[in-house]
């Protein structure tokens, strides 16, 4: 199309050529956009590739039975032991403490916001919860180590400076916004007519909330709890700062211990040569972590499908 041809595409052949060009340009753009969307798939493949290939190298030197059954985790010592249970115990105990805080608090806040609070309170509370969820975890870690632990030591004088308890409590506070916000959405999706039915029978607000709304929203609640669990299992900095980094096979939250994540941080802080056994352990530990979160995610999706209420 020439610039001085003001009537533009008056010939059929010109128009066809122009259309063909437009068509190819469109196809090219679509391909570029598809490539961008495919980056997410590449990311997943990359994660699986890196974790599995380094873990394969690791398991060629360490038997998988030792990995699962040994009760010591001392990969960097001369007398090396690779018992992942040590790290898993720390991970599970700290997650349990966190969930004992986050699930009741999150659920109560969600019920309160969805059933009791008027819209002004709700509008004000949601951004506050979002801010809480936006605080960097390193700041929470600082808070756990230097504020919460000293406070807890006033109650439990024998509590050590690093403990799963204080890290877990703060981690629980961190998770509250996720659970509260998702549970609230689930409960608000319960149709008004169900509440009205309950009120018409003379139920109080609390009775309606507990016996009608919560059961109706149970799949959404379960999904929010599962998300909370995956957050807790994958959380790193709070534990690396406040729980100590000594591998310790314990089920007692009053003790210091290392989690899978804090072990990875600890090793990454040192200067490990690429390809050494120490380097490979963090990938084996990372693979374990990914598998644990994967199990919870599948469980979550299954729960969601099983208990979904159709209105």
């Amino acid at each position: 199309m020439s610039a001085n041809n003001t009537s533009g595409l008056h010939r059929v052949s010109d128009r066809l050529a122009y259309n063909a060009m437009r068509h190819w340009k469109e196809r090219l753009i679509e391909a570029i956009l598809l490539a961008a969307a495919a980056v997410s798939v590449l990311t997943t493949l990359g994660i699986v590739y890196v974790l599995v290939s380094e873990s394969v190298a690791f398991f060629s030197q360490v038997s998988i039975v030792d990995f699962l059954t040994d009760t010591q985790w001392t990969p960097l010592f001369d007398d090396a032991h690779f018992g992942i249970m040590v790290l898993v115990s720390g991970t599970l105990v700290s997650s349990l403490v966190a969930l004992l805080v986050a699930i009741p608090m999150g659920t109560i806040i969600a019920i309160y916001l969805s059933e009791f609070a008027d819209s002004r309170v709700r509008e004000a509370a949601k951004p506050i919860l979002e801010l809480l969820g936006g605080i960097p975890t390193i700041v929470f870690g600082y808070f756990a180590l230097l504020v919460v632990t000293p406070l807890l030591q006033m109650i439990f004088p024998e509590l050590p400076g690093f403990s799963l308890l204080s890290a877990g409590l703060v981690m629980g506070i961190m998770i509250v916004p996720y659970i509260a916000s998702l549970s609230e959405d689930a409960m608000r999706a319960v149709p008004m007519s169900m509440r009205e039915g309950a009120y018409a029978m003379g139920s109080t607000k609390l009775y309606t909330a507990v016996h009608v709304v919560v059961p109706a929203a149970v799949s959404g609640l379960a999904a929010s709890y599962i998300l909370g669990i995956s957050r807790a299992v994958g959380e790193t900095m709070i534990l690396a700062v406040a729980a100590g980094m000594q591998p310790n096979l314990t089920w007692n939250p009053m003790e210091p211990a290392a989690t899978i994540t804090s072990y990875i941080v600890q090793v990454a802080l040192g200067d490990l040569p690429h390809g050494s056994i120490g380097y490979q352990t963090i990938f084996a530990a990372g693979l374990t972590l990914l598998l644990i979160t994967l199990v919870f995610n599948i469980l979550g999706q299954w729960l969601r499908a099983k208990y979904r209420e159709a209105y």
Partner: protein
């Protein structure tokens, strides 16, 4: 069952109301606990760190002496890493969101991409660090550089940007597309001149929330091996280097670096309590950055909800 007398009915109602009120109080208590934690966190850092809020703190490098240590390399590093993250994540995220909303046909590929994005959002951030260590640092040979860190965080926040882009695009009514197509625009022209501009506030909200998340992330950056003690800045474009040569325009992306969260981590993990003060002050600076970004995002969303009437 014997019918209740009026008094008994009143008692039942009163009991019900009491329970309601007790629950209401519990709810308010839990909510305020969340608020108290935020306030306590900020107050603690302000009180402990107050003596360090001087210009020197922002202009000094890290030091072995707590009172002379500053956060210059940390905040410059954070800013540069964020720049790389934004340059990588925004075009990718917006393009992916656009593809999934405007172009994608319902087929297995689209399904795979969608399921994948929601699963990626649940992957712990430290696993991204391991990905980056294996792929960016060793496979691609980017080393422990700003580039590696920026790309890692870009992958981490990509799901956030994609999801918010999709939501923003979905809110645009079909008549806008139909109008544009009716005058002969192609799909790309419709996206370029209508969809993207109208979805901009929503996309921006997602980008800011994503970057606020990225700036506070520590674990993936530690994993790729960011240094915890660094007393120099990445070479500015066109500056003269130590050996007399001139730095290229993009030399800084390959430079070693540290970021704010790592500086804080380093200071909190030192036994000398003098560094606690620094950690508190740096923590406050980081919080201020993150919270103000979040506040902008929340404001944008609020404003968007109010203004748009299709």
């Amino acid at each position: 069952m014997k019918p209740l007398t009026t008094e008994e009915i009143r008692a039942v109602i009163a009991r019900g109301k009491l329970k309601d009120n007790i629950f209401k109080a519990t709810g308010i208590f839990c909510l305020s606990l969340a608020l108290i934690v935020i306030v306590a966190l900020i107050a603690d850092m302000v009180i402990k760190g107050s003596e360090r809020f001087t210009l020197d703190f922002f202009l000094n490098f890290a030091s072995r002496r707590a009172t002379q240590a500053g956060i210059l390399s940390a905040w410059v590093g954070s800013l540069l890493v964020m720049l790389v993250t934004a340059l990588a994540a925004v075009p990718l995220g917006v393009a992916a969101g656009l593809y999934l909303e405007e172009y994608a046909k319902r087929n297995w590929l689209t399904n795979v991409i969608e399921i994948n994005i929601s699963n990626l959002a649940a992957v712990p951030s430290i696993v991204y660090g391991l990905l980056a260590l294996g792929i960016f640092v060793y496979q691609f040979g980017f080393g422990q550089s700003i580039l590696s860190a920026g790309l890692t965080l870009a992958l981490l926040i990509l799901p956030i940007i994609i999801v918010s882009t999709r939501e923003a695009i979905r809110a645009i009514p079909a008549m806008i597309r139909e109008g544009s197509m009716a005058v002969g625009a192609t799909r790309w022209q419709t996206c370029r001149y209508h969809i993207i501009p109208y979805a901009m506030p929503g996309i921006l909200t997602g980008v800011i929330i994503g970057l606020a998340r990225a700036i506070g992330e520590t674990a993936p950056i530690i994993t790729i091996g960011a240094l915890t003690f660094i007393a120099f800045l990445p070479p500015a474009p066109m500056s003269t280097l130590g050996d007399g040569s001139t730095a290229g325009l993009f030399d800084w992306v390959m430079a070693p670096f540290t970021v704010m969260p790592i500086q804080i981590f380093n200071w909190t993990s030192r036994p000398d309590p003098a560094f606690e003060v620094n950690a508190a002050a740096a923590g406050f600076v980081l919080m201020a950055m993150v919270l103000s970004m979040n506040a902008v995002a929340i404001y944008l969303r609020y404003k968007m909800r109010k203004n748009i009437k299709w």
